[in-house]
């Protein structure tokens, strides 16, 4: 059976070159970077090389590349950034600002911090998912100690005006963290230019391995470690360094940096063509996220009148792999908070599909995707009470205005 991955945001294969770079560190250069003997040397050097490569990807080269703390996941990087900063800066205030469409690894921490007595403001977004810098400015109080707003959203693809948001933060002398896990490797990042204070990224979003991520921390920002113990990673993250994974992160960062423009342009061209094809062939589709300012590989649509898990299952049977923001596909059985924040009516959130492309995606697959999604949508609409109600009402007013 033909199979087409349209869920590269969930997972992507590790690049062959990246894997080849990693392999020797499992067996040959297996030493512990902290070791005082020859076995520690190559791994230790490899760690620093990886730091430089990640630095290059985010524009930290020459300035602050040593301020890159390796973690095991973007979730961990986000937890280190937020909990770590507030733990070290409690005396300065108790207010944190973020947005309503952050990843759960930001939002769920904030809930915990709220229980501990912190005040949290979650900025709303407009119907395209954009945070308004003026609303950020208005939300700042003299108690605000941290602002955390993502660079881009993994689900709807919307890219935030981070430069403006950071300016607002810095005018008020408040440190700014950005979760760039969905953005890194796909759009240019430049910590020198934006002046961002902390930035999270993860290797598995740009063809590196799972289990390797990083938090950039600008010099002067005080954090407390989440994982305490040895003084690896400047004392900010204890535990034997996962050298092979970090080498993989470095190599993936190097490749992503090298091919960023080419990769993004090619992928966004396919994405645009797929979008055009779907909207042409299938009635009652709805685009979620920003029409222009979005990640090159991201397409998010709602298929009116049907539910996402059923779509996902039917597409899976046709070898097409997607994800959905429906409540039935979430482990917590709640429909996407991101789609909710856009003001999308529940039935559209339930019928949302995230189609995310990768460098392996091909234009040639578009007809197959369009045809199958059309069939599947027709089939499920045919058994949908909402669709029959719509037919009866004979009206076709768009559900979102």
């Amino acid at each position: 059976m033909k199979t087409i991955n349209l869920d590269y945001t969930a997972a992507a294969p590790v690049d062959q070159g990246v894997l080849q770079a990693m392999i020797p560190f499992f067996t040959e250069h297996y030493g512990n970077p902290s070791s005082g003997h020859a076995l520690g040397e190559t791994p230790r050097r490899a760690l620093e090389e990886a730091r430089e490569k990640v630095g290059l990807l985010i524009g930290a080269e020459g300035v602050d590349e040593k301020q890159i703390i390796f973690t095991a996941s973007a979730s961990e990087a986000n937890n280190l950034a937020l909990k770590g900063l507030v733990a070290a800066n409690k005396k300065k205030g108790n207010h944190i600002i973020s947005s309503s469409i952050e990843h759960f690894s930001v939002l769920n921490q904030l809930k915990s911090l709220q229980k501990e007595g912190f005040e949290v403001t979650l900025l709303p977004v407009d119907r395209h998912g954009t945070v308004d810098p003026a609303q950020l400015a208005a939300a700042i109080t003299d108690q605000t100690i941290l602002i955390s707003i993502q660079t881009a959203n993994p689900e709807i693809g919307t890219i935030q005006p981070v430069e403006k948001l950071i300016s607002v933060a810095h005018e008020n002398e408040i440190p700014f963290h950005t979760d760039a896990a969905a953005a890194a490797g796909w759009i240019p990042l430049d910590v020198k230019k934006t002046g961002v204070d902390m930035l999270s990224l993860a290797a598995d979003q740009f063809y590196g391995p799972k289990g390797a991520a990083a938090l950039f921390v600008r010099r002067g920002i005080r954090l407390r470690p989440l994982i305490e113990g040895g003084i690896q990673e400047k004392g900010l993250r204890a535990g034997t360094e996962n050298v092979p994974a970090i080498v993989g992160l470095g190599e993936a960062a190097r490749l992503a940096y090298q091919s960023l423009d080419e990769r993004s342009q090619r992928v966004s061209a396919i994405r645009d063509q797929l979008k055009a094809g779907l909207f042409k062939e299938i009635p009652h589709l709805h685009l979620n996220g920003h029409p222009e300012k979005r990640l090159p590989r991201n397409l998010n649509i709602s298929v009116e009148f049907v539910e996402g898990e059923a779509l996902l299952m039917r597409l899976n049977m046709a070898g097409i792999y997607v994800s959905s923001g429906s409540s039935c596909t979430s482990q917590a059985l709640k429909s996407s908070h991101v789609l909710g924040a856009l003001g999308l009516p529940p039935e559209l959130a339930q019928g949302s599909l995230l189609l995310s492309l990768g460098k392996e995606s091909s234009k040639e697959d578009i007809p197959y995707i369009t045809e199958n999604l059309g069939q599947v949508s027709g089939l499920l609409r045919n058994m949908s009470p909402l669709y029959h109600q719509h037919l009866k009402e004979g009206n076709d007013n768009a559900r979102v205005q």
Binding site: E307, A310, Q350, P385
Partner: protein, 131 residues
């Protein structure tokens, strides 16, 4: 995708009795798009038996399979028998449902029962108006 049983997958892939019976004797609607599942059962009753049953379902794989299974289980049963169909039985007939999908099986029997009580109430009203 949760680990659905073969039976669930079979009903999801080939759902039976989709649609609306013409001139339904009873209609049962449950759920709403917020919770992710919605079912509308329509029944045709003859001689106190469910002569025909059809449904429209908006929902996940489990919701569709449950609807299909309920329709099969109900068809031909007397109203009393059909009212005794429990959600647990539906799930069992489907070879079990993943824990977090049990609420979908709840909906199925509920919608059927609603259609039956709708029919019964209409009967009462008719009986009342004819008395």
């Amino acid at each position: 995708m949760p680990e659905y049983s073969e039976k669930v997958m079979e009903h999801f892939t080939n759902p039976r009795n989709i649609g609306e019976v013409s001139e339904p004797d009873g209609i049962g609607e449950v759920g709403n798009p917020v919770c992710g599942d919605m079912m509308k059962f329509t029944i045709k009753v003859k001689d106190n038996r469910i002569e025909d049953v059809k449904y429209f379902t908006f929902g996940c794989g489990a919701a569709i399979a449950v609807s299909s299974m309920v329709s099969e289980m109900a068809k031909g049963k007397t109203l009393e028998e059909a009212l005794k169909i429990t959600n647990k039985q539906v799930a069992e007939e489907l070879g079990g449902l993943p824990g977090n999908k049990m609420h979908c099986s709840n909906l199925g029997a509920d919608a059927l029962h609603k259609a039956i009580t709708d029919y019964m109430e209409k009967q009462k009203v008719e009986a009342g108006s004819s008395s």
